[in-house]
Amino acid sequence: MATTWTQQTLNHLRRTRAWKSIFRRGPARTNRTRSLAIFGNIFLHVLPVKVREKSLRLRATYYLGSFSFFLFVVLTVTGVLLMFYYHPAVPEAYRDMKDLRFVVANGVFLRNLHRLAAQVMVAAVFWHMFHVFFRGGYKPPHEFNWVVGVGLLLVTLFLSYTGYLLPWDQLAFWAITVGTNIISYVPILGHPIRFLLLGGNIIGENALLRFYVLHCVILPLAAVILIAVHFWRIQKDGGLTVREDHERKG
């Protein structure tokens, strides 16, 4: 039978030295070994060891947080691929956009996927926030995770904004002109912030480079750290906030 065959192969693998060096523990057959397996894995340990079935139902969360995270992964993958074709410099930036269309295999798909995913992610993150808000997810003991979530919202928006300049077309240029002019209306600090963001007083090559670094390095790193904290705090704060009536039904 197939099951025994796969079972046998797995058992055989578990006995190899390489497997043991990686996982250390034997098969997760008891609750204890199962939780140890989760704790002992850097990728899984941020997740709860135990999930209540009711919180897995579609109407409990609509999977909005997971969906946003999935989009973040898509954006990271397509973004890295796009970085292979892109120079953050003035004559090249726009030409690289066109080259994606003219010569790069599936370049249009790559770019559109990145753009579309970014737009959907903004929508998903907002929906996620409203959903959590109306469920009272900001109430104790979730206050801190709510604050982290707000931080993630801002990072998402800022990622979206910095990415807008990179095609270096008229739309990008004027959008950033408007955006940075708005910043300059902040009392006292407005102009210094704008100067810092643009690397000068006009939107030029410096601004493009700064936006590129923000978009590709600083903001994604911030997002990864905040996402990790966000996930970690879900289990530390005692799981998801699920509506009472769902709990009763469950």
Partner: protein, 700 residues
């Protein structure tokens, strides 16, 4: 694991398949890209050609591009234009985009395509590469205007760019530089005529008429067309769209421009008295007018068989109705000394006798007239002071001062926009208003020249009536103004225009300047092209012949309608010119001492005569006496005219002496060269050189 409901599993399976299907769209679209299809088409096309093997050997799948980093050129045009180098695909029957490029001075591999043709070299889609799209504003330059691209780098004239050269000449001739800044076109010393004392030249009514419609001749249908489009000679004055009030004001202002009393060039009263009553004075004037070849520079309308045509040159203004325009006193003073009233005038200062001057002015004032010229001009009173003031303001506002000098009136600097980068303007930089023209740069330029109001209701620019050929040439020249090719890395490739000049001083310089030789003749690359190049005249012509010719120019080519005017030079002036030409204008290829009379024996001349008449059939083009062709110059008097050494060198290598001459180069044996020269040197009219035609020099 077994707890997952069947429904959910099925939904998961279906959505996975759908997702994969959506993902597959992109690679399929990738396969069907235009350039990939084009390359598949090329392979199929190559298989139908006889030289399939050769064509496919040069073919590789994938994108073809020409990359020239130092010029910032990345052209992928050859991805589709695959056969661009294939000599076997040159024929017009080869479908595009596979046809080869016609032979040209620049190689595709070295220059790419968009440097000359414009368009988007990086694009691999047909529309993006050739047209104006949302993301590209520099479409392909139509082949009709392709010479504009030559002009971006080549600032001088080229044999390959006749249209561009005509356009640049028009930019100068039409005084575009008066209002606009133009790359490579410098402001001439004089643009339009100096108007400082124009009030003493013509009447207010004439100014009114001229300002309203500068084209002065009316055809049988009442259309003012002849001095304009039909013979491709445009008046240099464009039409300003002036209303009645402006016309009155400007004509009032112009008629008020007088500098003291008009110079009265008095004729000898005895001459006037003797000729006044003679019935044939006007006819004699006409004869002198023709004999002096005024029409070499000035054109006059002639009506033959109901068709009106302008006959004559383009250097000076057209004179058909000048008698109704100019004031008699002014005309007299002008003909005596044009530079006195207009220092930059190109008109030579003729040596007149009072008789001739009287006859010619009488002819001009009584025959070159049109009694109906002012018929549509309203009655104009003496100019009122406020009209003059308004006129003076309009003179500046309308930009008249940009072309016309008036003492005490300083023109506004940069009156019109700078056009040095007009040729590289993008559509978003152009204002089309509601004009019903295609939204292209070329259509814009042409509308702006012929009907500026259509694209800009507030335009100050006047409108020009140009023949289609000239409009295209002018457009070409303007398209070549791309603001310098520095942006595309071509700056170091610019070939500047040579800046020749020939301004001799001294006795020769004085005569040369008086008769304005350079207006028609060229000296070492400087001067007009109407008449023969005189850079090597001293090698060609004998001094005695030069003197005789200058005193009485007879045409050497009877089929020409434009001939050298008779200037009525003094003996001393003719001698000065002839001495200078004989001494200075020598060709390094001709050694005048190399042929002596000893070489030119009668035996040789006999052989030469035979060669001339039989072997080489020279008379099919040249005339001797009364028989022969009219293609080359008349050789009846060549023995008095040319130097033997010049003739010999000419027979050896005519194009070496005069580049582009149609005289065939035959590589004659040296013996035949000497024989022909010996024969030609025997061809003399009346023995030695002397003024031939009666009446020559009779002006004194």
């Amino acid at each position: 694991m077994g707890k997952i409901p069947k429904r959910l599993r099925r939904a998961f399976a279906i959505s996975s398949v759908l997702f994969l299907g959506v993902l597959a769209v992109s690679p399929v679209k990738d396969l069907l890209q235009e350039w990939k299809q084009s390359r598949r088409d090329y392979v199929r096309f190559a298989e139908t050609r006889p030289d399939t093997k050769q064509l496919l050997a040069d073919f590789h799948p994938g994108i073809d591009q020409i990359w020239i980093p130092e010029m910032n050129v990345t052209d992928r045009c050859t991805t589709c234009h695959q056969g661009i180098h294939q000599a076997s695909l040159l024929d017009v029957s080869v479908p595009q985009p596979f046809r080869a490029h016609t032979p040209m001075p620049h190689q595709v591999e070295k220059w790419g395509c968009v440097v000359c043709h414009r368009g988007q070299g990086l694009a691999t889609e047909v529309r993006e590469a050739h047209e104006t799209t949302l993301a590209w504003e520099q479409p392909l330059l139509p082949v009709r205007y392709i010479q504009a691209s030559c002009g971006v780098c080549h600032r001088g004239t080229l044999p390959e760019t006749p249209q561009l050269d005509v356009g640049r000449e028009l930019l100068v001739k039409l005084n575009c530089a008066g209002c606009h800044r133009l790359e490579g076109i410098t402001r001439p010393a004089m643009l339009g005529p100096d108007l400082t004392s124009v009030g003493s030249k013509a009447s207010r009514a004439w100014f009114y008429k001229w300002l309203k419609e500068p084209r002065t001749i009316t055809d049988s249908n009442g259309n003012t067309t002849v001095d304009g489009v039909e013979n491709e000679e445009e008046p240099r004055m464009p039409q300003f769209r002036l209303n009645e009030k402006e016309l009155r004001a400007l004509s009032a202002y112009l008629s008020s421009l007088r500098t003291g009393p008009a110079e009265t060039a008095k004729l000898d009263p005895r001459v006037v008295a003797a000729l006044e009553r003679k019935p044939d004075t006007v006819d004699q004037g006409e004869v002198r007018f023709r004999q002096m070849f005024c029409t070499t520079c000035h054109s006059v309308a002639v009506t033959r068989a109901g068709e009106t045509k302008l006959i004559g040159g383009e250097i000076g203004p057209e004179l058909t109705k000048v008698g109704s325009k100019v004031n008699p006193d002014w005309l007299l003073a002008w003909l005596r000394n044009p530079q006195a009233s207009m220092p930059h005038s190109q008109m030579p200062r003729y040596g007149w006798s009072d008789e001739d001057l009287y006859k010619v002015t009488r002819y001009i004032l009584s025959k070159l007239t049109d009694p109906d010229l002012m018929s549509d001009v309203p009655r104009l009173e003496g100019p009122a002071q406020e009209e003059i003031q308004l006129g003076q303001r309009l003179f500046l506002e309308k930009g008249c001062a940009s072309c016309h000098f008036v003492k005490g009136v300083s023109p506004q600097a940069d009156f019109g926009p700078n056009l040095s980068n007009l040729g590289s303007k993008t559509l978003s930089q152009l204002e089309f208003s509601k004009a019903k023209i295609p939204r292209t740069l070329i259509a814009y330029i042409q509308a702006k020249i012929t009907d500026p109001v259509s694209v800009n209701p507030a335009a100050r620019m006047p409108q020009y009536q140009l023949a289609p050929r000239h409009l295209e040439a002018l457009t070409t020249a303007l398209l070549s103004m791309t603001g310098g090719p520095s942006s595309s890395g071509l700056a170091k490739l610019v070939v500047p225009a040579p800046k020749p000049g020939f301004h001799p001083a001294g006795a020769f310089g004085e005569v040369y300047e008086r008769y304005k030789c350079y207006v028609c003749h060229r000296f070492n690359g400087y001067g007009g092209t109407l008449a023969p190049d005189l850079s090597y005249e001293g090698s060609r012509a004998q001094r005695s012949w030069l003197v005789a010719f200058l005193k009485n120019p007879q045409t050497l080519r009877p089929t020409l309608t434009l001939r050298m005017p008779q200037f009525n030079m003094t003996d001393a002036e003719a001698a000065t010119l002839a001495d200078y030409l004989a001494m200075v204008t020598q060709s390094p290829a001709v050694n005048l001492g190399s042929v002596t009379s000893k070489d030119l024996t009668p035996e040789a001349a006999r052989l030469g005569k035979q060669l001339y008449e039989v072997k080489y059939q020279c008379r099919s083009c040249h005339t001797i006496g009364s028989s022969g062709g009219y293609v080359g110059p008349n050789l009846t008097n060549v023995g008095n005219w040319m130097n033997a050494a010049w003739i010999e060198e000419w027979l050896r290598d005519p194009q070496g002496l005069v580049p582009g001459t149609i005289e065939p180069r035959r590589t004659l044996p040296e013996q035949e060269v000497t024989a022909l020269a010996a024969y030609l040197m025997t061809l003399r009219q009346g023995g030695a050189a002397k003024p031939a035609a009666p009446g020559a020099g009779s002006a004194r």
